[in-house]
Subunit: 336 residues, 2 copies
Amino acid sequence: MALEELGEFGLIDRIVARLGDAAARDILVPPGDDAAAWASEPGAAVATIDALAEGTHWRAGTMTLYDVAWRAVASNVSDLAAMGARPAHLLVATLLGPRATLAEIDAFADGLADACRRHGVRIAGGDVVRAASTAFTIAAFGQAPLDAAGAPRLLRRDGARPGDAVAISGMPGASGAGLLLIADGRAKAPAAAALVEAHRRPLARPELGLRAAAAGLRCAIDVSDGLLQDLGHVARRSRVGIELAGAQVPLHPAAVELLGRDAAFDQALGGGEDYELVLTGPRDALRALDTPELPVTLIGRVVAEHPGEVIVWTDDGEEYHPPSAGWDQLRGPAPR
Amino acid sequence: MALEELGEFGLIDRIVARLGDAAARDILVPPGDDAAAWASEPGAAVATIDALAEGTHWRAGTMTLYDVAWRAVASNVSDLAAMGARPAHLLVATLLGPRATLAEIDAFADGLADACRRHGVRIAGGDVVRAASTAFTIAAFGQAPLDAAGAPRLLRRDGARPGDAVAISGMPGASGAGLLLIADGRAKAPAAAALVEAHRRPLARPELGLRAAAAGLRCAIDVSDGLLQDLGHVARRSRVGIELAGAQVPLHPAAVELLGRDAAFDQALGGGEDYELVLTGPRDALRALDTPELPVTLIGRVVAEHPGEVIVWTDDGEEYHPPSAGWDQLRGPAPR
């Protein structure tokens, strides 16, 4: 069926029906009115917006729109996780290019629904428009509780202090390694499955963010553009230096096996879209966040020296300069 | 300067600096972190998202990006106004096509800033990405207070009841008339100024929405796609019929002067992007909303008959069928 035949409101009804229980039908005003409304509590409202555009964030053929939707949900939930907020509601703007098909929109809706269920969030509303190229924008909302003194518990980029340790969840670089293997036509290798899954269905870490905030930690960022680049934001905003012990950065065993230790290490430092959380704070508080389900590993420390800079040390006491330091939305891969 | 030279984070800093006091610098977490955070109160959180795409909502040459930004702010604030919420914070996703220039982005930021100041809202965060074509998505957040019984006061599309009167703010069709005059090369005619202004710098009506909700009204929609089409949403969602007295629909005197009464009337019924509010409720409550600054005019009534349908009556007791009934995002102008 042509999109024109269905019309704007027919298409919206179709998407909402397809979302099933991932559509927030029981909030104060569910999808379908001028705006969505849900009950708000005293505390902090936390909100973020993220855009994904064809040609920039995916190319027709390399990613299905199911995967694009999944990533869009994960990246938004991850931004709230990095604040220590509980993510709850998403709004989705769908910009349809001239070649967008109904089958693609269905796949997008299915990806939204599955990623929402996996992350415990729901779609509260959206917008559908025609555009010269396909893109999606998601805005995500959550809430952060108040502490005993009535102040909101939030994890901020400017919360790192000299003396803090630095820790990371999971195994950074898995998504980047998966992308390399897909590009090399090696995605079918048996050991590649977990890496390809990390690239295609990344998982944000909202429960870790909540536990960290509840434990009194005050600084985190999510690894969306690459570990070094994202830690650089923390270093600049907190006016501190950060030193990483390269050997302590946890590497995915499959990435080491398939790409070699050096390439796996570079993906861990520079690969984006892992959506792991990097946290700073007292060593013991960070150690206490480690669980069998989601490892949290100490990888470095915050120092007063070289404010704004992140330095990676090798075991030999040398400074290591990876070939790529991360992703810049306007420049592409950042040079070193 | 090329955008690549400035880089993603340089560009974001430039936009935030340009926003001046339209950037929300004093909230719990201002622009620059993973997400924005502001204090939330008990009541209803109200949120909406709207996308504007080059080629669909504007064409290079017919609208400056200053005007595009203004309209994006107005349309989002209008969605919150139509719920009876107090708009407060916006998040802005900027998708930059290959031909986007720094001068255009500066103009966009200036339009955002001025429209935010005029509407009493502020930018709390955003995202900047490269895309195959230029588009902007804004998400807007507001809050609706609780009534004495602890229920949120919200204006809904499904709140119209038989026996209600129907009223509209301002003079619908002014924006559509302005667009016609621009397309005809008559924008410089002295009488055209107010209409061109209505098209280029539309004003949403959040104060009216708040007054209506506080007065106990329960149903409104904003005129974004055309009066008849938007009232059609109210009729369908409320399962009521709506009858308009054509002669009572307030027409802009300049539209009547420059286009003639018939064309001005058709613009009032089918022209979009006026961002006036249409309200239903007890006649006296609607009359009490009328002020010298913003007229509110009774134009019809809600009936139990012909549910889902909006009928326009002429003075001669004939049913009137306008040539265009509004705008569908996928089909273009809706047929009758």
